[in-house]
């Protein structure tokens, strides 16, 4: 198990601060989803949590220790990352891509081991790609391709997984497929999952913990039922809506009204 938290994090691009003294603790063993309007800083926060960006002030703590003080390879054994829109090298097979995830467990001396082989097999099985393992990644459908990238993160075998919009550009079926896979990784393998999602209703359905970001700060966080209310959605997204209970899953269901009709 591993804890991840942000402590008075301030950072941005060029001179413009995107996150302002943001503090956040992510619950262990749960699925946390970062939501917010475009440009609110949720992707920036995820990148900072994954040490892709250097904070101007404050720090990200992994297991209580500043993530930038630890060797990046050691961090990669605890925390894996699926960036937004990754592009696979031309001609690479699914198995090769998944095998790349084993890098933090290898060294000059110990190159490819049986443990690596097993981890790759398991990741392929778990993501349902065992039949496609010899296919080239560029020949896969969008959903399969995203599963292959998740399989690479699974092969990395970390207790913590960060995913930046893992469902963007996927149709509804494939969005569900990816999210169900992540839920199973959380329930069966006990992984802590932190991701950015755009679809509020899917976020409510699959998240244990929702973190709403507004103007570079944590606006609200907690269980979906506690966070997603009509007033909050208006504050976070500047959007009029009604929130009802999903008749099947009993999570909040947000029905957008737009500016005019309310």
């Amino acid at each position: 198990m591993a804890t991840l938290s942000a402590n008075r994090l301030t950072l941005g691009y060029q001179r413009q601060a995107i996150l302002r003294e943001l503090s956040l603790e992510l619950p262990e063993g749960r699925i946390s989803v970062l939501v917010g309007s475009n440009g609110c800083g949720k992707s920036t926060l995820l990148k900072a949590l994954a040490r892709l960006l250097t904070p101007w002030q404050g720090q990200v703590a992994l297991e209580g220790e500043d993530i930038r003080q630890r060797p990046t390879k050691a961090v990669a054994r605890t925390l894996s990352l699926l960036p937004q829109h990754p592009v696979a090298p031309e001609g690479i097979s699914v198995r090769q891509l998944v095998g790349l995830g084993r890098h933090p467990h290898q060294s000059w001396l110990a190159q490819w081991s049986e443990g690596d082989e097993r981890a790759v097999e398991q990741a392929l099985l778990r993501t349902g790609l065992d039949d496609l393992s010899e296919q080239r990644v560029e020949t896969l459908s969008g959903g399969q391709r995203q599963r292959a990238w998740i399989a690479m993160a699974v092969a990395q075998d970390t207790p913590l997984m960060l995913l930046d919009e893992p469902t963007s550009f996927l149709d509804l079926t494939h969005q569900m497929e990816v999210l169900e896979l992540l839920v199973s990784l959380n329930r069966d393998a006990g992984k802590t999952i932190v991701m950015v999602l755009h679809d509020l209703n899917l976020a409510c359905r699959y998240a244990d913990h929702i973190v709403a970001i507004r103007e570079g700060r944590v606006h609200a966080q907690g269980r979906p039922q506690a966070v997603i209310t009509r007033e909050r959605v208006k504050e976070i997204f500047q959007l009029e809506c009604r929130v009802i209970e999903d008749p099947f899953f009993h999570t909040p269901l947000c029905i957008p009204f737009g500016k005019g009709a309310a």
């Binding site: 960006l53 990352l81 990754p86 690479i92 790349l100 290898q106």
Partner: protein, 328 residues
């Protein structure tokens, strides 16, 4: 060794033998054997093979291997299949220093020209790196290409200005533009050969890390690669390889661009397979180009830089068409 590698090694060996045979006057394979293992001091053929042809064969081997690998690293570093070592400003920097040196004094000794070209290449790349890269900055490699293009243009402008003012550098310029693997004796180029060999061997531990860098900086960092450090190592490798190549043989185009494509096509996307193959293919291709440059219009020689362009342009166009077809 995979069958493919053995085939490449065999092809390279044949190219070496042919290169030792070829010239205005062809020697037989037996003669080559004789010259290599039991040379007689009075035999003109033996002497020819052991000096001129041997030198240009060795230079072509190292320059070709160096350019093939440098191009491959460059393409991985920038994630751009059209990248070539010249994009770092290496060639323009080398030329500027050579032209400067030639302007300063008339008889420019060969070792000074080589050393100066190498230093110019390194300085140019250093400037490009300093402008483009900051630690942990996103899309650094893209800026690397832009800064390289801008500085190259600037350096070329300086070179041209110098040539207009003083034509002393014209010969150096012409040599550089045409390229040659035969212009300098072994005694002048062996340090550069050693640099190339050392860098090629030093690349070995990076091969697996380049596999991850090829999947993107964020992916590589997520998997525990110190991306900025790897980028720095990559640029240093490219500069040393391409700088040594340009210092030994002038401006040889297309090898660094095409060979990585061919190698990836033959050996797949794993750097541990294709980058060594790129070294072999680069060496073999430049040897073939040199043999053709010697034999096409005897007794004159076609400049090898022209030869690689003649061979490379059609191959490159075929590659571009193939890729366009797949994506479009």
């Amino acid at each position: 060794m995979s069958p493919r590698t053995m085939l490449a090694v065999a092809g390279l060996a044949i190219a070496v033998v042919v290169s030792l045979m070829a010239g205005g006057h062809w020697s037989s394979p037996l003669q080559v054997w004789h010259a290599l293992w039991s040379p007689s001091p009075t035999d003109v053929d033996d002497l020819l093979i052991r000096t001129t042809r041997m030198t240009r064969t060795l230079v072509a081997l190292t320059v070709g291997a160096g350019l093939g690998v440098a191009g491959g690293i460059m393409q991985t570093l920038t994630r751009n299949p059209l990248a070539s070592p010249g994009l770092l400003g290496v060639n323009a920097g080398a030329l500027l220093v050579v032209v400067c040196l030639a302007t300063l004094g008339s008889g420019l000794p060969g070792w000074l020209a080589s050393g100066g070209a190498f230093a110019g290449a390194a300085l140019a790349a250093l400037a490009v790196w300093a402008i483009a890269m900051r630690p942990a900055a996103p899309s650094g490699p893209l800026r690397l290409i832009l800064a390289g293009a801008a500085l190259s243009a600037l350096f070329h402008a300086f070179s041209q200005a110098l040539l207009v003012i003083d034509q002393q550098g014209l010969d150096a310029m012409l040599f550089w533009l045409a390229g040659s693997v035969a212009a300098r004796p072994l005694t002048q180029v062996w340090p550069l050969m050693l640099v190339t060999l050392a860098v090629l061997l030093a690349c070995w531990p990076c091969l697996r890390q380049w596999n991850l860098l090829a999947a993107g900086e964020a992916v590589a960092l997520g998997a525990g690669i110190s991306v900025w450090r790897l980028q720095l190592i990559s640029v240093v490798c490219v500069v040393l390889l391409a700088g040594a190549a340009v210092a030994m043989a002038g401006n040889i185009v297309f090898i660094g661009l095409i060979v990585p494509h061919l190698a990836r096509r033959l050996a797949g996307p794993d750097h541990r397979h294709w980058l060594p193959l790129a070294a072999l293919l680069g060496a073999a291709l430049l040897l073939v180009a040199d043999v053709m440059s010697r034999t096409l219009i005897p007794p004159r020689e076609v400049p090898i830089g022209v030869m690689t362009a003649l061979l490379g342009a059609p191959v490159f166009m075929a590659l571009v068409r193939r890729q366009g077809g797949r994506h479009g």
